[in-house]
């Protein structure tokens, strides 16, 4: 079957078997290996990607189910050479040791901050409660996400780029999940609001 989706802002059409999971589609077909594949049972959360701006465990979503939707992987976090504040935060606060859980943690953090720009420690811990860091570096992960919340400067830069994208997209409804740049323009709107 044919699937068409937007991955990190780029429209992609591929021919796949219906049973292909989104995590394998991203890693093996698109060769975006930043998304990690861990427990295979929707427990560990290292495969988290954003679907229309919302974190999902891509080992338990069929690529077919993502047809018509906007996917953001860890490769889509940075804007050109400018890191997302979440990425910067993980650097500043040593939010990773082995790095295996990091892509999923950072995408969940991005979605959290898009909806709640000033989360407290409890809200951060709840947001990442479906993800496992086997290095048990949770304290530094929480600090990294706090750092990102306190330093939205890079996000503002990212915002400008996303808003420009949204403006060039005015012919489409921003309310439909299928709209290619919806996830990004929604999060940009929320930051502005």
């Amino acid at each position: 079957m044919q699937v068409t989706m937007t991955v990190n802002g780029t429209d992609i059409t591929e021919e796949i078997e219906p049973r292909v999971l989104l995590v394998h589609f991203i890693r093996d077909v698109l060769r975006l290996t930043g998304t990690h594949w861990g427990c295979d049972t929707s427990n560990c959360g290292t495969c988290v990607v954003l679907m229309d701006g919302q974190p999902v465990k891509s080992c338990t979503v069929l690529a077919a189910m993502a047809d018509g939707h906007a996917i953001t992987t860890v490769e889509g976090l940075a804007t050109g050479a400018v890191l997302d504040p979440v990425q910067q935060g993980f650097m500043e606060e040593h939010g990773l040791q082995c790095g295996f859980c990091t892509p999923g943690m950072m995408l969940t953090a991005r979605a959290l901050l898009d909806h709640n720009p000033h989360p407290d420690d409890t809200e951060i811990r709840q947001a990442i409660s479906g993800q496992i860091c086997r290095c048990t570096g949770y304290a530094t992960i929480v600090r990294s996400i706090k750092w990102a919340a306190e330093h939205p400067a890079a996000a503002e830069h990212g915002d400008t780029v996303q808003s420009d994208t949204a403006q060039s997209d005015t012919g489409q409804s921003h309310n439909t999940a299928q709209s290619s740049n919806t996830a990004q323009s929604q999060s940009a709107d929320e930051v502005h609001a």
């Binding site: 079957m1 078997e17 219906p18 049973r19 292909v20 999971l21 394998h24 295979d40 049972t41 929707s42 427990n43 959360g45 988290v48 919302q54 974190p55 999902v56 465990k57 338990t60 979503v61 069929l62 077919a64 189910m65 047809d67 969940t108 709840q126 947001a127 409660s129 479906g130 993800q131």
Partner: protein, 303 residues
Amino acid sequence: MQIPAPFDYARASTVDNALALLERHGPESRILAGGHSLLPMMKLRLARPEWLIDINDLFELDFIVRGADAQGADTLRIGALTRHTTLLESDQVHALFPIITDAEKVIADPIVRNRGTIGGSLCQADPAEDLSTVCEVLGAVAVIRGSGGERLLSMAEFHRGPYETAVAHNEILCELRFAVRARTGSAYEKVERRVGDWAVAAAGASVTLAADGTIEAATIGLTAVGQTGTVGAAADALLGQLPTEALFIEAGRLASVACDPIADQRGPVDYKRHLADELTRRVLRRATERAHASATSTATQEG
């Protein structure tokens, strides 16, 4: 690597279209909603459908609406495709049925809750499913559609046993209906080994107070301890009584005797009976507090 066996995939555009697809592809076709129960089962070959009918585009099944039913009774209707996250974040659901909010906080984890649906949870009918207990406690009515029209089932009729419901292969669970009652409170509490795990045991309760402060109606449900339906004996002991700690202790004892847990990796039988006892007391306490609050706010509105 865990990958499902080969199958064919179709995406439904409306409920009628989904019903037509189910008819066309026969008994080996399955509805795919959030997928967080079905896909793991397919990876393990515990399920091996030939066709998946994806209903994630059926926005007509994603709603929370309060209104009068055909008989004029105040009712909250929840569409089967409503996601756990939506239920958890709904102020209306929390105000009317806090037991749903209590349960949603401890169902899986926030990311799984972004995908999982109330209809999918009920149709999966896992014996440890929190929302099955919640729906039984609230006396929910399941609305099921087939090519011949709509039928309404109580939870007792809906649940046939572990992983088995009354929904036929060519039917779809479309919504759940909950009767709104005055002076009523409800609560749910679960003990789990870690975030996102199935319950070791859990309990839910709904309590309605009469104008004189006695208990007019009560239901108690238990999760993952071999209890089918609500615990009638424990609820009956409460009727007509003033809510007191001694009464809750007695109800907890009756619930722990009524249930039939099995020993497994989540704990031995005596521990699970202890949890059934303790959790029943806790949810009765909290449901009664909430019923008092509901009675007070009703009185204020009427005054």
